[in-house]
C-alpha cells in the first residue's frame, strides 16, 4: 500500500479540488476473489451539474449534497446561520438532551489518538486522514472554541488551534458528519470517555434543526413521511394490513401452516412492532414472527394506529425534534391498545431509540414496558414450546451483532443462546459482541443512495464487515456451500443486501443474509419444506 498523504485540520477551510481521493490501492485488501483494485466495480461519476452546484471536495463523494452559496452575501448568511445553530447546540434550553455529553467530549479530548485504530472506516480506508475519527471532532472542537467561547479567537492563535469558518469548512463538515456510522467503537477505546460519534451526531443535528439540511432519505423521505403516513416506507395503515393479509395467504401456501396476524387487539399481552421495511423487503421475517408467536400461544397483536406499525425512528441519527415526535406517537399507539408490553422486532436502531434514548423523554403515562425480540424469542425457543430440529439448520451460520442492540444496549447473549440451540455449525466473527464491527450501513447509511454515496458505502464503510464475514467462512469459501449471515436488524440487512449485490457475494461465495426468526422457523418440525429459500435477495 502507498503512504497516505498528510491532511491537517486547517486544510478543511482551504479551497482544493478535494482533500482525499480514497484511492482503492490504499484500502485494506479483501480476501480472494474480491482482492485487487480491478475486482472493484467502477465508481459512479457525479454529473457536471451536481459538481457545479454542490461541494464534493471532501472526498469526491456526496451523501447530502447541500448547495454551495453562489455569492459572498449568501456565504456570509450561511456562516451566520451555522453560528446561530452552534450557539443553540450549546444552550441548555435547546439542547438539554445532549449538552452534557457534548460539552464533556468537546472539552476533554487529550488528542492522544488512542481511539483511531478502533474505527473500521478509518482502518479499512487505509488510514485516510479524512476518516480518522478525531479529524471531524477536532474541526468542530476548534470551531466551538474559536467562535462560541469568550476570547476564542485570541486563544486559537495562542494555542495553535486555528481554523477558518467559511462555506468550504461548513459544507465539508456536513459531508464529513455522514462519513461515520455512529458505531461508537472509538468511544469504547477512549481513555477519557470522549465520544466522537456523539459529536458527529450533534453536528448532524445542528444542520438539521437549524439549517433544515439532512439527507433526503432520512428526513424528507424518512421521518417526515413517517409522521405524515405512519411509516417511513409511506405505507398507510390499510396498505400495511392488506400487505400482511396477502403475505399470510402466500406463506400459508408455502408452509402449510395457518398463519394469522391479530390486529388492534385490546389488552393483548404483547404489541409487536416491526420495522415496516421488513413487510415490503423481507416479508419472510414478519411471517416468521407470526408463525412463532402463534405456535407458542402468545396473546399478541399488531397495531394499525399511526405510529403503531413502524418501529423506526430516524431522528435518533440526526434530529431531536423528529426523534421525540416519532417516539411519542409510537407510545400513544401502544397506550391506546392497553397492551402489557411492547416487543420490538428485529431492528437495531428502533431498539435503542425506544428502549434507551426515549427512556428519559417520555412522561410517565406513556412509559409502557419495552422488550427486545431477542430475549422474547430466546425464552420461547428455550422453553420447549416449539418443536425444533437443529439438523434442519445444518449449514454454516455466523452472527452479525447490530451496534445499537449490542454495544449500546448490552443485549449479547440471548441471540447466541438461540443460535447455539438450533444451528450446529454456528461460528462467531472476530471480533464480536460489544466489540463487533458495524455493517457499514449504520446511522441511516443503509437507506442512503443519493449521488455516488453507495460507492463509498460499499467500498469504504462496509469493507471491514465484508472482510470479517468472508474470514468467518474461510473454511468453506466455495459458492457451492451455502452459508448464512444472521443479522437481526433491518438496517444491517439492508446494508448486507446491497453490499452483497455490489460484490456479487452470492455468486462468488454462496453467502445469504437473513434474520433470526427465519432460522427458528426453518428449524420447526411442523414445516414440510425448509423455510429459508437459498436465493439472493
Amino acid at each position: 500500500m502507498e503512504k497516505q498523504k498528510m491532511i491537517r485540520i486547517e486544510d478543511i477551510a482551504r479551497a482544493a479540488d478535494r482533500l482525499t481521493d480514497v484511492a482503492p490501492e490504499h484500502m485494506v485488501p479483501l480476501p480472494p476473489p474480491y482482492d485487487g483494485v480491478k475486482a472493484l466495480p467502477p465508481r459512479k461519476r457525479l454529473t457536471d451539474k451536481v459538481r457545479a452546484e454542490c461541494d464534493c471536495s471532501l472526498d469526491g463523494f456526496l451523501a447530502v449534497g447541500m448547495t454551495r452559496p453562489k455569492t459572498e452575501a449568501e456565504e456570509q448568511e450561511l456562516v451566520s446561520r451555522f453560528l446561530a445553530g452552534l450557539n443553540r447546540l450549546l444552550s441548555p434550553e435547546d439542547n438539554w438532551a445532549f449538552l452534557q455529553q457534548l460539552t464533556l467530549s468537546l472539552d476533554h479530548c487529550a488528542g492522544c489518538q488512542t481511539c483511531v485504530e478502533s474505527c473500521p472506516i478509518y482502518t479499512a480506508s487505509g488510514r485516510d486522514e479524512v476518516y480518522r475519527p478525531t479529524f471531524r471532532s477536532e474541526i468542530f472542537r476548534r470551531i466551538v472554541k474559536k467562535y462560541a467561547r469568550p476570547g476564542g479567537k485570541l486563544l486559537a492563535k495562542l494555542k495553535g488551534e486555528e481554523i477558518e469558518l467559511n462555506a468550504t469548512t461548513i459544507l465539508r463538515l456536513l459531508e464529513s458528519a455522514y462519513r461515520c456510522t455512529l458505531c461508537r467503537r472509538c468511544a469504547q477505546a477512549c481513555p477519557m470517555g470522549v465520544d466522537n460519534a456523539l459529536i458527529t451526531r450533534e453536528i448532524r443535528k445542528l444542520f438539521s434543526m437549524e439549517l433544515g439540511v439532512a439527507p433526503r432519505e432520512i428526513h424528507e423521505n424518512g421521518s417526515l413521511v413517517q409522521l405524515r403516513t405512519g411509516s417511513s416506507t409511506g405505507m398507510k395503515a390499510h396498505v400495511v394490513k392488506d400487505n400482511i393479509e396477502f403475505l399470510e395467504e402466500d406463506f400459508r401456501e408455502q408452509t402449510g401452516l395457518d398463519i394469522h396476524t391479530p390486529w388492534d387487539k385490546q389488552g393483548a399481552d404483547v404489541l409487536l412492532i416491526h420495522n415496516a421495511g421488513e413487510i415490503s423487503v423481507w416479508p419472510e421475517n414478519p411471517m416468521a414472527f407470526a408463525i412463532i408467536l402463534e405456535a407458542a400461544g402468545i396473546n399478541w397483536t399488531m397495531s394499525s394506529e399511526l405510529g403503531g406499525y413502524d418501529s423506526v425512528n430516524y431522528g435518533l441519527w440526526y434530529d431531536d425534534a423528529q426523534f421525540a415526535r416519532v417516539a411519542v406517537r409510537q407510545m400513544q399507539a401502544a397506550k391506546k391498545l392497553g397492551v402489557r408490553k411492547i416487543v420490538l422486532g428485529e431492528c437495531g436502531h428502533a431498539h435503542k431509540a425506544f428502549m434507551v434514548t426515549a427512556d428519559r423523554l417520555l412522561p410517565q403515562e406513556l412509559d409502557i414496558p419495552r422488550e427486545s425480540c431477542l430475549t422474547f424469542l430466546r425464552d420461547i425457543v428455550l422453553s420447549g414450546r416449539l418443536k425444533l430440529d437443529p439438523a434442519r439448520n445444518d449449514f454454516p451460520v455466523t452472527l452479525h451483532d447490530p451496534c445499537n442492540m449490542v454495544r449500546m444496549m448490552g443485549i449479547v447473549k440471548p441471540q447466541r443462546d438461540i443460535l447455539k440451540a438450533i444451528c450446529p455449525q454456528f461460528r462467531e466473527m472476530a471480533p464480536h459482541g460489544v466489540e463487533n464491527y458495524c455493517c457499514g450501513g449504520g446511522s441511516g447509511f443503509a437507506i442512503m443512495s443519493s449521488y455516488n454515496f453507495e460507492d463509498w458505502r460499499f467500498q469504504v464503510a462496509g469493507r471491514a464487515k465484508l472482510k470479517q464475514i468472508l474470514e468467518s467462512f474461510a473454511d468453506c469459501p466455495e459458492p457451492e456451500t451455502k452459508k448464512y449471515v444472521c443479522a437481526p436488524c433491518s438496517n444491517c440487512k439492508g446494508q448486507f443486501r446491497d453490499l452483497f449485490n455490489y460484490y456479487d457475494v452470492w455468486q462468488k461465495s454462496g453467502i445469504l443474509h437473513g434474520g433470526l426468526a427465519e432460522l427458528i422457523v426453518n428449524a420447526m418440525t411442523d414445516l414440510q419444506k425448509p423455510y429459508i429459500k437459498w436465493e439472493s435477495h
Partner: protein, 306 residues
C-alpha cells in the same frame, strides 16, 4: 516576605476554585438523555465479562436491577493506575504516559508526606525519619518518572505518524511545562546547597521566600503556574472521567426506577425551543412538550384523511 509561599497558596486557591467551577458547571447542566455504552461494569461478573445488560432479562422491569458500584470502582482503578484503555489501544504511547502519570501520583503522595511532617512533625517523632526518607525517595522517583514520561510523550507527539498531525502548540506546551517541573525538581533535589524538601517544609510553615537554590525557586514557580493553568485545560480529564464514564456511558438507570429522573423529564419538556429549521417552526412560546406533540408539518396526517 514569604513570596514563594504566597504564590503557591494563591495558585492552590485558583486551582481549587477553577476546578470547583468546572465541576459545578457540569453538575448544573440539565439531566440528559441516556447514551449507554457497553460493557458497563454493573450486574453479575459473568454478564460484565461479555458486556451484557439487564435488557437481556425477560421482562427486565419486573426484576431488581443491580446498581452496585464495585465494578465501576475496579474498572476506574485499572484506568487510573494502569491506563488500561491506552495499554489496549496504543501501546507505544502507554509506556510514556504510564511513567508520567505515576510521576504525578508519586509527586502528590510525596508532597502529602512533607506536609504531614511540616504540620504534625512534633507529634510524629517516631516516624519523622521514615517519612522524610520515604518523601525524598518518592520525590526522586516522581521527578525521574515525570521527566522521562513527559519527554517521551513530547517526542512521540512530534515524531509519531499517528500523532504529529494533532500536535498543537498547547499540547506541546503542556508536556514541556510538566518536563520543566519534574526536571527542576530533580535538579533541586540533588543540589548540595539546599534541600528541596526543607524548602517545601519551610514553604508549608510560611518561612520560605526564595532560597539559595535557583532550581528550587524555579520549581516552585512552575508548580504554581501549573496549578493556575490546570483547571482551564483538558487535563481536568483526571476527574472529569467521573462524568464521562459514570455520568454518561454507565448511567443506565431506567426512569421507572428513579422518581428524580421523572421530575427532570417534566422540567426538560417544559424548556423552550428556538431552533429555526422549517420542520421545527421555532418560536419563543414553543416548548419541547409542544414540539414532541406536533407533527412538524402543517395540516392533518394522511391517515387522518383516510
Amino acid at each position: 516576605m514569604p513570596s514563594i509561599t504566597l504564590a503557591l497558596l494563591a495558585a492552590i486557591l485558583v486551582f481549587f476554585l477553577g476546578n470547583l467551577y468546572r465541576v459545578v458547571k457540569v453538575m448544573l447542566m440539565p439531566a440528559h438523555l441516556r447514551w449507554d455504552l457497553y460493557p458497563i461494569p454493573k450486574g453479575s461478573r459473568e454478564r460484565q465479562a461479555y458486556g451484557g445488560s439487564y435488557f437481556e432479562e425477560t421482562e427486565w422491569w419486573t426484576k431488581p436491577i443491580e446498581t452496585g458500584h464495585g465494578g465501576e470502582v475496579t474498572f476506574m482503578l485499572k484506568e487510573v493506575f494502569f491506563l488500561r484503555g491506552v495499554f489496549e489501544n496504543f501501546r507505544a504511547l502507554w509506556v510514556w504516559s504510564l511513567l508520567l502519570h505515576w510521576g504525578l501520583y508519586l509527586y502528590m503522595v510525596s508532597v502529602a508526606a512533607i506536609i504531614a511532617i511540616a504540620v504534625f512533625g512534633a507529634h510524629l517523632a517516631f516516624a519523622r525519619a521514615l517519612l522524610s526518607n520515604a518523601a525524598f525517595g518518592g520525590f526522586v522517583a516522581a521527578c525521574a518518572l515525570g521527566v522521562i514520561g513527559s519527554l517521551g510523550l513530547l517526542a512521540t507527539r512530534v515524531f509519531s505518524s499517528r500523532l504529529k498531525g494533532f500536535a498543537t502548540r498547547a499540547a506541546l506546551f503542556n508536556l514541556s511545562l510538566l518536563a520543566a517541573i519534574f526536571g527542576s525538581g530533580l535538579i533541586a533535589l540533588f543540589n548540595p546547597r539546599h534541600d528541596l524538601l526543607t524548602a517545601l517544609a519551610d514553604a508549608v510553615n510560611w518561612r520560605y521566600a526564595t532560597g539559595p537554590c535557583p532550581a528550587a525557586n524555579y520549581h516552585f514557580v512552575l508548580v504554581a503556574l501549573f496549578l493556575v493553568y490546570f483547571p482551564f485545560t483538558h487535563m481536568t480529564h483526571m476527574y472529569m472521567k467521573y462524568f464521562t464514564w459514570h455520568g454518561v456511558r454507565w448511567d443506565d438507570t431506567p426512569a421507572r426506577c428513579d422518581e428524580g429522573i421523572r421530575e427532570h423529564i417534566a422540567d426538560n419538556l417544559a424548556r423552550g425551543v428556538s431552533w429555526q429549521a422549517p420542520h421545527i417552526h421555532g418560536a419563543s412560546e414553543q416548548t419541547w412538550a409542544s414540539v414532541a406533540s406536533s407533527s412538524g408539518q402543517h395540516g392533518k396526517t394522511e391517515n387522518d384523511q383516510d
